[in-house]
């Protein structure tokens, strides 16, 4: 039998159902891969017993004819999701040792569908970062290396860096990610896997450690479009515990998958051709356009005039919301506490937050505090909310001319650890193509497109109308069939 860890979500589900192998064998195989891959630092904690317990239950359920949608499928869970009884840190030392007494809705849905948990995945601290270098639990190392002999350790992207590395290195067939301004899509592109951020409100935010609540959205990352459809279907759904949860039925995304996109119009936004982006990005974009044309889609040039303002808008709104959300870390209710000698309550707050937050988190809290402070609120925050409305309107107008947009996911391939940490704005630019869809709450997916000259993966992004995950998945499937991306990193870890 071939290595079970080469199988994706659908193949595992079907194989367990058909009796080709047991769920127990699958869990053992992935647990072994996780244990061997410490060099990647993809997981903050391993939970092999959880994966095995769910697998054994799946094997019993099969015997009794009670299989569930994800029976036998072990998953990695980003450490942003509260998992009852399992440490949940959001990559921060502020939450070291925090064991939630409740389950996030997304993980509850996944476990209820029969999935087990291999471990909690490393991530940028409170999801603030694009390279997984801000985690208090160390950098995640991408399983990919450049093919030109350079042995530099590369970043898997971020903030869902552990999630990306785990899928690419075959430590998990699928994982959860979260995306506030590209944190599913950019890492998926960096490691040659598929990841979708659904419409804002599809997945409940209950039990997700909050970063920027008007943007935060959970989604799956996996090896292909079908696996993403299966996982998203299990994760999504109305939740009264999240006031922004969409009160809509979850469509049968997997059953309705179709790569027939003949006659669909695919928009190419001219503002996404930006200066300073390497030629290889343009080349893979042109290739993607050709594939979509080959699939029978009509290619139309479109305009989203406020695109260039999306990133600065994001870097007002997200820090503003973060400064408010992260006010809860006060050393009183949970998490870390630092108590200076003879200090009072205010000293405790300040010492706790100084010690518990990393540099990037502090920077964003302070930016957010500043743009919300008296005298600056209108000039910064309100202005940003108005520009955000204009960015959303750009998309509204573009849907009169096309059904989907095809763009690059990120402005480069994966970069080396340390390369961009000294310059926050250079790091922020990683999400230049991802942030507009986040600000507008739209479903967007990254699909692998090919390798660059250094043998590193590049991804393209498909953006769709609000609620049209099906269209995005279908366009992604048509793309995937033509890209035929099968490259994977050589194991060195």
């Amino acid at each position: 039998m071939s290595d079970l860890t080469d199988l994706g979500v659908a193949a595992i589900r079907d194989g367990v159902r058909d009796g080709a192998f047991s769920a127990h064998e699958v869990a053992e195989a992935f647990n072994a891969n996780v244990a061997k891959a410490k060099g990647l630092n993809a997981f903050i904690i391993d939970t092999p017993e959880h994966a095995l317990a769910a697998a054994d239950q799946a094997d019993r359920d099969r015997a009794e004819g009670k299989l569930k949608p994800l029976s036998g499928v072990p998953l990695g869970i980003k450490d942003l999701f509260a998992t009852k009884g399992y440490q949940t840190t959001a990559g921060s030392s502020m939450l070291g040792g925090f064991e939630p007494v409740y389950e996030s809705t997304v993980s509850r849905h996944l476990f209820g569908a029969g999935a087990g948990m291999l471990g909690k995945l490393n991530m940028d601290e409170f999801a603030m970062g694009s390279s997984n270098e801000t985690s208090a639990y160390g950098n995640v190392i991408s399983p990919w290396r450049r093919s030109d002999g350079g042995n530099a350790a590369l970043t898997p992207g971020g903030s869902s860096g552990g999630s990306a590395a785990a899928v690419a290195a075959r430590l998990a067939p699928g994982v959860t990610g979260t995306d506030t301004g590209g944190s599913i899509r950019q890492p998926a592109a960096f490691v040659g896997i598929t990841g979708i951020k659904p419409t804002y409100g599809r997945c409940s935010r209950y039990g997700m450690v909050a970063f920027a609540s008007s943007l935060d959205q959970a989604g799956p990352m996996a090896r292909d479009v079908r696996d993403c459809a299966i996982l998203l279907q299990a994760m999504a759904g109305y939740d009264p515990k999240d006031s922004t949860s969409l009160q809509l039925d979850v469509p049968a995304w997997e059953a309705s998958l179709s790569s027939d996109i003949r006659g669909k119009r695919i928009g190419i936004p001219k503002e996404y051709r930006i200066e300073g982006v390497p030629e290889e990005i343009d080349r893979v974009w042109e290739q993607g356009i050709a594939w979509m044309r080959d699939a029978g889609a009509e290619i139309v040039e479109v305009s989203l005039p406020h695109t260039r303002y999306a990133l600065p808008t994001y870097y007002i709104i997200a820090p503003a919301e973060a400064s408010s959300n992260l006010a809860r870390y006060d050393g009183v209710k949970y998490g870390r506490r630092e108590m200076p000698d003879k200090g009072g309550l205010a000293d405790m707050y300040q010492a706790t937050r100084a010690a518990g937050f990393g540099a990037e988190v502090k920077r964003r809290i302070m930016i957010g505090t500043y743009v919300l402070s008296a005298g600056f609120y209108d000039a910064y925050f309100n202005q940003a909310q108005k520009v955000r409305a204009l960015i959303a309107r750009d998309f509204e107008q573009v849907w009169q001319h096309c059904d989907y947009l095809l763009t690059p996911t990120a402005p480069s391939a994966a970069f080396a650890i340390g390369e961009k940490m000294a310059d926050p704005i250079a790091m922020y630019l990683n999400d230049v193509f991802a942030v507009p869809a986040s600000l507008a709450g739209l479903p967007a997916m990254s699909v692998p497109a090919g390798l660059n000259d250094q043998g590193l993966p590049l991804g393209l992004q498909i953006i769709g109308r609000a609620f049209d995950e099906q269209g995005v998945l279908n366009a992604g499937l048509a793309f995937e069939e033509r890209a035929g991306f099968t490259a994977r990193p050589e194991s060195w870890w």
Binding site: V332, I365, F376, A379, V387
Partner: protein, 95 residues
């Protein structure tokens, strides 16, 4: 707009983050760099544009006015750094 050391100290105080003199010195150019970059939003004409309040139009729901939760003090306190007599414990705040 730009910040100086006094403003950075003020922001840090509002954010309840203790900062050393060295950190303040380092934060001034860092924050100014970012603030200078987001400044470009001022050039966008937003005449007549309402600030966005909900990214996906969604009716906020009312729930039934009934007790649905409670009576789990120990779970609430489980992760507290310091809990005494069934309460969160903090340094003395009243003399």
């Amino acid at each position: 707009m730009s910040v100086d050391t006094a403003t950075v100290r003020h922001i840090a105080k509002l954010a309840r983050i203790a900062v050393s003199d060295g950190e303040v010195e380092a934060l001034v150019p860092e924050l100014n760099n970012i603030l200078g970059w987001i400044e470009q939003l001022q050039e966008v004409d937003v005449t007549g544009v309402e600030p966005m309040t909900a990214v996906i139009p969604n009716q906020l729901r009312m729930r039934a006015d009934v007790v649905t939760d409670g009576d789990r003090r120990d779970a609430v306190l489980k992760n507290a750094p310091l809990a005494e007599h069934g309460f969160f414990a903090v340094p003395k705040v009243i003399e």
